[in-house]
Every structure is written in C-alpha cells, then in structure tokens.
Point group: C2
Chain length 553, copies 2
C-alpha cells in the first residue's frame, strides 16, 4: 500500500477538520505509554542520550561540522551537525527538487504524511530534544514539539492537498459556435512548485512554528532547506533526518529536505534568504530580523511570524478567582516565552466589579500576584509550568525591566531538582500608568508583565487595540460580564487583526492555539504577515501551468 493510501483516511479527516474548525486532533497530546507504547518514554530518553556529545548523522557527506547548543537546563549538548555553504546547499536542493516537482500530488502528500507519522512515533525523543534546546518543561516540550506540532504539520498538508486538488487535472473545454461545430480543447493543468523553500526556525518552538512551512512547501512540490536557530538545532535535525529517510524509501533524492545549521558566531541566514535561488522564505523570529528578511529576501514570497505585544483587558468578571488563576497560568507558562503570552494587563483606575464585590486597581494587581505565587508555590509544579529561560538575554531584560514600574511581584530564579545550573525566572509583575507607554508600549520578551492603570475600560480597549495595530499582537484577552463591552472589544480587536479570547477561567489559556481550529497569527498586523494555517499560506507555494490542445477531428 502506498504511503498515500496508508494515510488517506487521516488526510480526509484533516481536510474536513480544516473546514469545520471544530475540535479535532490527529496526534494524542497525552504522553501515555498506553498510546505511545510502554517503552516509548524510556526509549525516547535513551535515544536522546545516545545523541549527546556526538556528530549527528544526517546521511550527508559534509566536511565541516557546526553546533554549540547548550541546554537552558545547564549542560552543553555537544552535538555537531554537517554544514554546507549556502551556494552548495541551494544547488543540491534545486537538483533534488526536480524529481520532487514531477511527482504526483498523491506521492508527495503520502511522503509528507508518512514523515509526520514517524515524527509522532518519535515524540518522546523530540520532547527531550525540545526540552534541552527551547528550555521548556518536559511535558510542554512533549506536547508542543510533538503532537501539537504534528497536528500543525498535518493541517498544513491538508490545506496544501485541498488547494492543489481544487485545480482539475484534465478538462474538456467545448465552446458552442451557434450552428457550427463547437471549438474543443483538451486542457491539462499541472501543479508546478516555486523552487527552493527556506524555513528559518526559532529557538522557542522550532517544530511547532517550523512544521507548517516545511510541510506546506514540501506537499506543494518545493524542496526545503531547514535553517534552525543555532540554539535549537536538534529538534529540527531529528525532523530532517526522518524526512530524508522517508524520501529515500519512497525513491526520492533525500536532499529534497536539507538541514542548514550554523552557529551564532557565523550565521548564514542572511546569505540564504538573499540568495536568488531561494523562491520561498518562511521566518519565525524577532520583528527586527523579520523586517530585514521581508526587505532583503531575493523573493517576494515571504511568510513571517514576528512578534507582538499581547494584551488582557479586565473590565469585570463573574469569577474573580478563576480569572486571576487563569491569567497567572498564562503569565507563568514557559516563563512568558510564548508568542501568544500576554504582557499588558489593562485595568481601570476605579477598579472592577466582580462576583467577590468591587475590587480596586491595587486589589486586582495584588490578586494577580498572589495567584502567581499560589500557582508556583510548589517547586515541582513551578518547574513543570515555568520550564527554563531559553536565552540569557531574557534574564538581563527582566533585570532592566524592574525599573520600569512599581514592582507588584518580583521575578526570581526557581530551582529545578536535578538541574542545578538551569536558567530560570518566575514572572515579574509591574504596575504602571497608561501614560507610561515607554514601559508597556514595547515588547519585553519573557516573564515580564504590566498591570496598566487606565481611565476606563473604553480606554483599555483603545490602548490595547492601537498597540496591536502599531506594534503587532497575536492574542488579546478580555474579561467582562457586559455583552456591550464584549461586542465593542470584539470589533476593535478584529479590526486590529488580533485573536480575542473572552472570559477564560477554566483549563484553557489565551496562550493556546489549537490546530484545525484557531488561526494562529492573523497576518493583519505587524506580528506577522502570515497565518497558520489558511489558504493564503499554501495557495501561492505552487502555480498552475496549463496546456491546451486542439482536438483534431
């Protein structure tokens, strides 16, 4: 049975899910032995340990080797990867792309589905790789880098498949000519890829943010060069290795997917992005570099997820405790290093109405601080929620931020059992006034949040939505018991292109974006120009070449 036939039912479900956008998931997020096999956890850990301190084998004959990853949990990984010059990479990618471009939609999509299936089986290995590069806690690393990323991959494949199959393969075009014979043409429409697709990965969610681009490009016939962040190579190296194995088994040149690792001291991303041989660039990372990519990539076809400043507007609530707990979790999860994490919490100076009576501005701020303390009170739970801090610069950023307002809750290191050298930080919570926009008006990546005193909810909504238009935002969150306020906020945030969550108090958080349902990044404000995943994310990765032939009598 072909890969395509083997995975066809799942593909069709995925295509349906992309349309319906109700809850659906292909890959279980529960790291259970019952699902992944009783030895999967131990096998994954052993496989990870076996990789440490060694050259990583990608089946490539590379001369030079690079790689200096250091786990945010404290130890260097000691893994090196085969490196190639950009020219050589692109030449090999182009060459391999020829055969891939000629493959049928089914063959290509089948290979993609098989890769994702095998990635799923390696979810525990990938979890360890993600944990020790992104610094996430194990369980989050498992979910975000494993099944959630795999769902995002499948979603992109489903969109690509759906989009390609919307184009008929062959048609018979017959134009009536009054009483005469019709003019008849046989037409054949061919999907032609763009060429070499460069995927520039980030250090915090290398697979979750990278897979949609990798698989959208791959399914539509492009060859893919995966350029990982120098701090988070391993999860993508494992991915590329699995992809190359599947490609080879299916009879394709494994160079259809290549890894382009580098080190922070000798970066190659700019050279790759500006190379005229690159037809598509996908980028996840900082707005500064994102702007460089948009302006300097040789191709016009650039998809970005940059960053923004996410806001919470608190107007009123029917569940004060639930609200505070929910926000505390959102601020703490992965130490605020999610592109969806909130930074700015707008609260009216006059306070808010709640089910526990009126709460003053200061009471709200204090309650948020206490909710964080409560959440992180148990050290083991704290470690499981916070994980570690991916980049040392974030620790310095917290240090500098302390001066930006009145400290409501200070950030502190949080010891993690077994990892004495782990780089950690709990949330810093500062109170500021609306006019202090030099403090809250900039993105301060990491566990840094502001409780902002505004004149009223109307001002909160205006400031938050204006900030989104100006600086970008991926998420916004609103707490209100007043439908008129909810409607007003819905209008304002929709026009600013921000995904709004309303009254989250239970086990769901504004940070979370579910494949097959949530559109991650709208593309409509500076937080990014693309969305994971919609038609626009896939439709321009291929073109249609037509042939029409006159029927001879």
């Amino acid at each position: 049975m072909s890969f395509f036939e083997a995975h066809r039912a799942r593909l069709e479900q995925a295509v349906g899910a992309c349309r319906a956008r109700v809850y659906w998931s292909a890959y279980p997020e529960v790291a259970s032995g019952k699902i992944y096999g009783e030895t999967a956890k131990a096998d994954g850990e052993a496989a990870f340990k076996a990789l440490l301190g060694k050259p990583f084998d990608l089946g490539e004959s590379g001369g030079r080797r690079v790689g200096r990853e250091v786990s945010p949990y404290g130890m260097p990984l000691g893994i090196t990867y085969p490196a190639m010059d950009p020219d050589a990479l692109i030449e090999r990618s182009m060459k391999a792309g020829d055969g891939w471009a000629r493959a049928s939609i089914g063959d290509r999509v089948g290979v993609c589905l098989e890769i994702v299936d095998r990635l799923n089986k390696q979810s525990f290995l990938i979890a360890h790789a993600a944990m020790h590069t992104t610094g996430q806690a194990f369980m989050m690393a498992f979910q975000a880098a494993g099944p959630h990323a795999q769902d995002r991959a499948l979603e992109a494949i489903a969109y690509a498949y759906d989009e390609m199959t919307r184009v008929p393969r062959e048609v018979n075009w017959s134009k009536p000519q009054g009483k005469g014979d019709p003019i008849v043409l046989d037409k054949v429409f061919r999907i032609v890829p763009r060429g070499v697709s460069l995927v520039i990965g980030c250090a915090t969610f290398p697979t979750w943010n990278g897979y949609p681009a990798v698989f959208a490009s791959l399914a539509t016939g492009n060859s893919v060069i995966v350029k990982p962040h120098p701090g988070a190579i391993l999860p993508l190296a494992i991915t590329v290795k699995i992809a190359r194995d599947v490609l080879k088994e299916a009879g394709f040149d494994p160079d259809v997917v290549m890894l382009a690792p580098d080190e922070a001291e000798a970066p190659i991303t700019q050279e790759l992005a500006a190379h005229p041989g690159v037809a598509i660039v996908d980028f996840t990372g900082s707005p500064a570099f994102g702007q460089w990519v948009r302006e300097n990539a040789a191709t016009d076809l650039v998809f970005t997820e940059e960053a923004g400043i996410n806001s919470i507007v608190i107007d009123s609530t029917g569940d004060f405790r639930g609200m505070c707990a929910n926000i505390a979790f959102s601020l703490s999860l992965y130490s605020g290093q999610m592109c969806t994490a909130p930074q700015n919490i707008f609260v009216p100076a006059s306070g808010i109405d709640t089910n526990e009576g009126h709460k003053s501005f200061d009471e709200v701020a204090q309650a948020l601080a206490m909710a964080i303390d409560r959440l992180l009170g148990d050290p083991e739970r704290a470690a499981n929620i916070l994980g570690t801090v991916q980049n040392a610069a974030t620790i310095q950023r917290i240090e500098a931020a302390r001066k930006l307002g009145r400290i409501i809750r200070d950030s502190a290191a949080v010891p993690i059992a077994g990892f004495g050298e782990a780089r950690t930080a709990s949330p810093l919570l500062l109170a500021v006034d609306a006019k202090d926009d030099r403090a809250w008006g900039e993105e301060r990546f990491g566990p840094i949040a502001f409780v902002i005193r505004t004149g009223a909810t109307e001002e909160s909504i205006a400031l938050a939505s204006q900030s989104a238009r100006r600086k970008g935002a991926i998420t916004a969150s609103l707490y209100s018991t007043d439908d008129a306020v909810i409607d007003k906020a819905a209008d304002a945030f929709a026009r600013a292109g921000v995904a709004l969550s309303v009254n989250l108090t239970g086990g769901i958080y504004v940070n979370q974006s579910a494949a097959f349902s949530d559109y991650h990044v709208s593309g409509a404000n500076p937080a990014g120009n693309a969305c994971l995943t919609d038609s626009a994310f896939v439709a321009n990765r291929f073109r249609v070449a037509a042939m029409r032939r006159q029927k001879t009598a």
Copy 2:
C-alpha cells in the same frame, strides 16, 4: 429581493465553473440586439457621443479636473474627470471602507454582482469607450472590454466568495478532558479586509485586466481606488460611476470605489503606490514600472501582470495552411498589442514536415507572410482585426525593428474608412538566426514578430522556455505531430510557468484566455506574480479575526 438573492444562482454557477474549468460564460459575447436589446447598439453609441467634450460626472465634488485622452482613431475625446490629491483620495477611501468592511459577505458580494450586471447592460457604451481609448476595433472592444471582462469580474467574485465562505462563521469547539467535562469554547470567525486597494490600470485592456482586482478586493471588503492609465480613463470611469451608483442604492458610501485619474504630464501612480495608507496594489503594465511598484509599494501585497515574450515553436504540422492562418491571425489581432500575442516563431533551419510535404525554413516564413497578406487583404476585415495602435511609441518601435533582421513582410499603415487620422500598423515579420537574441530576446511590444532559425526543435523549445524564465512569457504555442515532442515541450513550458497551446488551427488562438477555464498568467515567471484568477489571487485580500469565548455553565 436583495442584490445577493437576485444574482445568487449565477454566483453559484460561477463558483462551480471555477472548479470545473470547463467552458462556461455568464455574459454573451455576441453583440446582438436579440440579447442586449434592439436599441442597445444605438443607445450605447449615443451615450458615448453624449460624453464627448464634457466633464464626466462621477457624483464627486472635485475641484480640479484632468483628462487628455485622444482616440487612436484620431480625435481627442475632450472629456475631463474630477481629480483629487492622493492623500485626500486615500483618506476618503479609508473612511468609506469602514462601513463596507462591516457589511456581510452576502451584502458585499450582492453589490459586486449587481455592478457587473449593470456593466453588462452598458456593454455597447463600454465598447465605444474602449474602442476610442485602447484603439481596438469595435467588435473586439465590445467583447474584451464588455462580456469577457465581465466574466473575469464574476470569476474573481466567485473565487472571493468561495474563499470567504470556506471560513466558518461560528463554531462550537469542545475538547474532551478524559473523564472530566470537556472544555467548550464558542468561536466566531470574522472576515476582515486589508484596507485600501489600489488598482493600476493599463491602456490596452483597462477593464479586462482591471476588473479581477477591483472585484476581488471589493468582495473581500476592501475599498478600491481605481487608477486608470491616462490614455484609457473612460472605460474605468464608466465602471466606477456604475459601481458608485449601486453602492449608493445599497446604502453604502459611494467612496468605497473611487477614480484616481491623472495625466501623463503629472502622474500620481507612484505617490499612490508608495502611500502607507494603501494595503493592496494591483498593477498591469510594463515590467520596468512593475518592478518599481514591487520594490517601492508601501505594502508587501502586490499583484502584478507585467509582460513577457511569447513564443511559437513550429516542429511539424498536419495542417500547414490552418497553422499559417492561425498564426497570422494571432500576430494581427489588435496589431500584436495583446500581452498574450506571440513575438518569436522558432523554426528549424532544416525546415518542417507538413501535410503538404517538407517545407524549408524560408518556405515557412513566406507562408506566414502570405497568410497575413491573405488575412488582411480585404481592407474592412483588416481594420476589424487590426484595430489601431494605442501608443505612438509603438509606431517608432516598428520603425526601429526593421533593422533587426531580414524583412519577410513589412509593416504598413492600414487605412480605416471614416477615420482618416487613425494610427495603424500591420505586422512586421523578420527572419533572424537563433544567435541574434539581441533582436528577438527583448520584448518588442506591437505588431513585430521574428521567425527564428534554430538547429532543431529541441533548441527551439530550449530557447523559448529559457527566454520565458528569464524575461517572462504568458503564452507559448507549439505545432507538432509528434507526441514525444509535445510531451517534451509541455514539460519545459510548465517548468517555465507558461501556458502552452498545442496545434491550434481552427477558430481559437493562442492570444485568447477564457475566464472560468484558462489561468491567465501563471505567476511563475517574470511576466507577472499573480494569476487571473486562482485562490492565491483572493485569499490574502482578507484575513480572519477570531473571537473565542468560554461557555459559562
């Protein structure tokens, strides 16, 4: 009955046609009184004449007036149009866009469909307007600027409608939590437009090339500023007027569609395109200006149809006479001023096999020249096929081209009865060698064609497809009785992103691109980055803003 309900059946047929891509047309191309009304022809002509020499009324209170259109048939139109500064235009467009963005998909699409329906009823007026700006012969102006353009508009509306309605409006997302209660979110997905859409028109097919962008942007909720070529304002002015009338009737601000006319001496296109208030730019025109737009538009969202060099490869034919007649027509139609018209005809030095025996290179070239002479032998028919030359620079280009090769057939003026001052030119046909690529390797817009002597068909295909990759091409045409040659050419032209026509000998020509079936411009070579019309042409003109709300118990 709403506009949407009134036109719903047609819309649904159009959506189906876009998928099936078999022959379908909504607007009859036959300029018959039985279809358009017995007085339609006379009414259209009278309406056109009534516009001449007067200020054109767009229902705008504009101070300044511009407009210096001169018919290529000889007389100045004497029509002026209300002009506004770019800042003022964009401000008004933004303001009007607010209400339009909030309208429902059905309301917006209904307005679009009603506009196209009324444009169809004015096809005779638009035909005269197109004839005396583009210089096309009347019947071609009727079809191309009328029903064919209207079909292209409907196609874009259908794509936009289909794409928007693929996004569910409201969903209930329920995520199972093992034995616990599921997490339930009510999600609302809103289509949000990009903002102000600028459509930059061309002088040769102002409506056919402009409508897809106008209606794709309009249907998806953007306000539209139509910037016509200073030489072909009238067809788009009539269009804008009809659009504004319908908008007003439907209760919208007519400034949702505005005209931005200028004069060649004081152009405003660059200022408009580089304005940060413009969110989408659509451009049809020269590669030089297209490059400027792509590089300097304030927005990244730029759709272009620029130009290319289209080729015919002659390998062999089973209908020598039919082939020559077909090519002669393609070279003559509208004096070679179609972006789909062929320029380069590659013929092996050793000649070709035909149903009339072997023909040498020179015999093929001579037969083509004779076919043109035969086609244009009758002056009335010649005028109806050639029309006039839109731009005086084309006449100079023909003059300069005479030195580029051996003249097989010279270009000449072709008198048109009743229009003594018409600017006309029949095709110039030159013989050159493959190595003379300084002659044939550049786009020479107008009735200029080269018969190029190559080593063999393989070289012909290679040269034509390489030229397409380098300089762009929209169409290619092949004549061959050998399926292996056809397959090879299909591969080469598909990879160069060129639409290939094979063995056209009857009443269908490589120049013709049918709405609902042919993809016009692939977007995969320098002839343009967009296609009329595919999903990619519409999917990025809007974004999705989501709201999710936790269900309270």
